[in-house]
Structures are given as C-alpha cells and as structure tokens.
Amino acid sequence: MSNDHQDHHEGSHFSNVELRVRALESLLVEKGLVNPETLDKLIETFETRLGPRNGARVVARAWIDPAYRRRLREDASAAIAELGYSGMQGEHMVVVENTPQVHNLVVCTLCSCYPWPVLGLPPVWYKSNAYRARAVIDPRGVLKEFGVELSDEVEVRVWDSTSEVRYLVLPERPAGTQDMNEEELAALVTRDSMIGTAKL
C-alpha cells in the first residue's frame, strides 16, 4: 500500500480531517460564501455524470467512423463536444493514437491534471507519488507493472500534462471485433487503456 492510500485507513487521522472539513464547510455556509446544495450538485456531477464511459464512447466512435477519427485528430475538443462532452479540465483536448509502432502514456508529474469530461476524476494511483515520479523516467517499468510488455521496436511516448492541454489515448481496436457495433465496442474500452497503462 502506498502512503496515499494507507492514510485513508488510519482512524484517528481520518476523523480529525473529517472534522476539519465539516467545520470549514459550516463556517463558509454561515458566512454565505458557500451553498451546501452547490456542493451536493458538484459531487453528484462528478460521481455520476463524468467518467470513463464518456471517453469509451469517443474511442468507439473513432474506431468505426474514419471521418470522426480525422476530426478528433484535427480538433479533439470540438470532436469530443460533438458527443456532448466538454468543460472543466477538458477545455483543450488532444487525442494521441496508439499504433503497432507507438504506445502513448499520460501523466502529470507536477500535480494531477487529467481530462475530466471524458475520464472523470483520476484514480488514486494516477495521483500517487510513485506514478508521477516514475512515468517519465521509467515508462517501460511502469507499463510492465500494469501488465503491458512492449517490444523494443515500439516507441513509447509519454505525455506530461504540464499545461491546460489534456490528453486522451486512443487505444488500438482489438482484433476480432469487426462485427461489433459502437455500443459493444465502447464496452470493451477501459479507463486505463485511455491513460495508456493498458492495452485492449
């Protein structure tokens, strides 16, 4: 277990921080600076509306529609918005395509930048010190830990999200899926394949 996660289970530590957050919220509400219903609405949005199912639809569409794939390449933000996904932490999207020769991997070494409209909030491992530290210096070692072994012939491209540009990996379409429809294809697409830590 990483430090990031271990701390979640330290009872006293946890209750202390929980009390601090509760106190801060009630202070801000009392002063008229925060509406608690706004917080509820924000949480509901990020727990239910945003998530990797959105990105999976983008990927599936790109697999079946070459014109869409082209638009995704030319202006990813606009092409993603065609499917109804846009906004916070996805304002300036770039899609990077995996091929038999190139494997892409996304990280944010400085904080936790991640494309919210298409993937939701990042998993704990993406925000962990270990991933942030290692993805740029040892991408093949990281990929191996995730079960992805690449031959020396494949070029690994790591995308360190240092600006407001957000990256989405377009994984390769798995073999034997030519008879599947868009919905079935979308169901194959995992979150990690769109970060680049998995292949399909």
Binding site: N3, D4, D7, H8, F14, V17, E18, R20, R22, A23, L24, L27, K31, G32, L33, V34, N35, E37, T38, L39, D40, K41, L42, I43, T45, F46, S86, G87, M88, G90, E91, H92, T109, L110, C111, G120, L121, V124, W125, S128, N129, A130, R132, A133, R134, A135, V136, I137, R140, F146, D152, E155, V156, R157, V158, D160, T162, S163, E164, V165
Partner: protein
Amino acid sequence: MNGVHDMGGMHGFGPIEREHDEPVFYYRWEARTFALRQACGALGKWNIDMARHANERMPPEEYLASTYYERWLAGLQRLLLENGVLTQSELASGMSAGPAPAGLVAFPPEKVEKAVRNGRNYCVDTPIPAGFAVGARVIARNINPTGATRLPRYVRGKHGTVDRDHGVFIFPDANAAGQGQKPQHLYGVRFSVRELWGAEAAPKDRVCLDLWEDYLQRA
C-alpha cells in the same frame, strides 16, 4: 519553485499501488473538500494557477505525509486566508467573526451544470507571433523560478524539438503571481529519453511536455 511536487524522475516511491473498482471518492470529506475547492474558486478571488501553487507551497514534509485531498484542503485554507476571505482565528475556531467580505456571493446550485460543462478558456485570442516553428530545435531554459512554474526540473537545460504549436495561452508563472496573463505561445515539445536520462534509456522513447515561449530558447 523547486518544490517536492515536481516529482518527475524521482526514485524511492516504490511500486504503483492500484485498486480495482475504486470509488470516485473514498470518504465524504474528500468529496466535500473537492466540491469546496470548486465552489470557493467560483468566488473569483483566485485563478487556477494560484490554486495549484497554494498546494505546492505546502511544506515538503507535510506534502509527502499528506493524502491527495489533505493537500487540497490545506491549499484551500491557505487560499481563503491569503485572499482575506476568512481570518486565521475563524479558521482555527470554526466560528464566524463577522460578515463575509463585500461582493462575495455563494455560487448557486442551478449554475453548476453549466459551469462544469463550459469550463474556462485558457487560450487567449491575442495575435502574438510565434518564436518557434514546428520542427525547431530548442533548449528548455535552465531557470529556477521561486514562484509557480510549469517547467519541471527534469527538462531544464535539455534539448528538444517543437512538435506542435497549441496557440497563445495564459502564462502560469505570471498568472499565479497575480501579474496578469502574459499570454504567449504554448508548444508541445518532445525530448528523447536518452537526452533526459542518459545512454541507458531506451533508444526510441520520448517524453512530450507542453512548454511556454518563455521556457524555451533556440538550440
């Protein structure tokens, strides 16, 4: 700022721990902290670069000992305090010592959906000439700003190639310091891993970063 948040290339953190089917938030306080950051950000007292930098200024020992949302919480308290939204005694006691600063209005729930869907635009519509063309060989400047920067230590002084011109964007170093947007071109720049990490690194692999005009010089 040469802070502990600038983690690219560090050793010693061990393997990457993963969990299957993890929830969006483990605990309610994490969800509340996330939402408080967004709701307080909407008060308009600080921008995204100031918000990031507030997290980065957490003392390094505390930063490493904290979970992700504890960093967010500490950063939020710092922002509220430094921007005069709350006082130190209010933060410490949890008791209001008077009315909120004039003009600050709670963000209404009915505007959440649109705000999340629209986001913000960090691209600036000012025609500014690009100093570098796609394909240009560049060096990431060896600078060590003490304030916010999005130029990680591991690329400073390294040679790279401009892959893409993203257009004109707000410059975080200035924006975080309250010095205005200082808009300039933002480039996707690729570096070979051998340039970054030495001859032992895989021959073909590369790391690509988005770097602003002020971070670059001609090679």
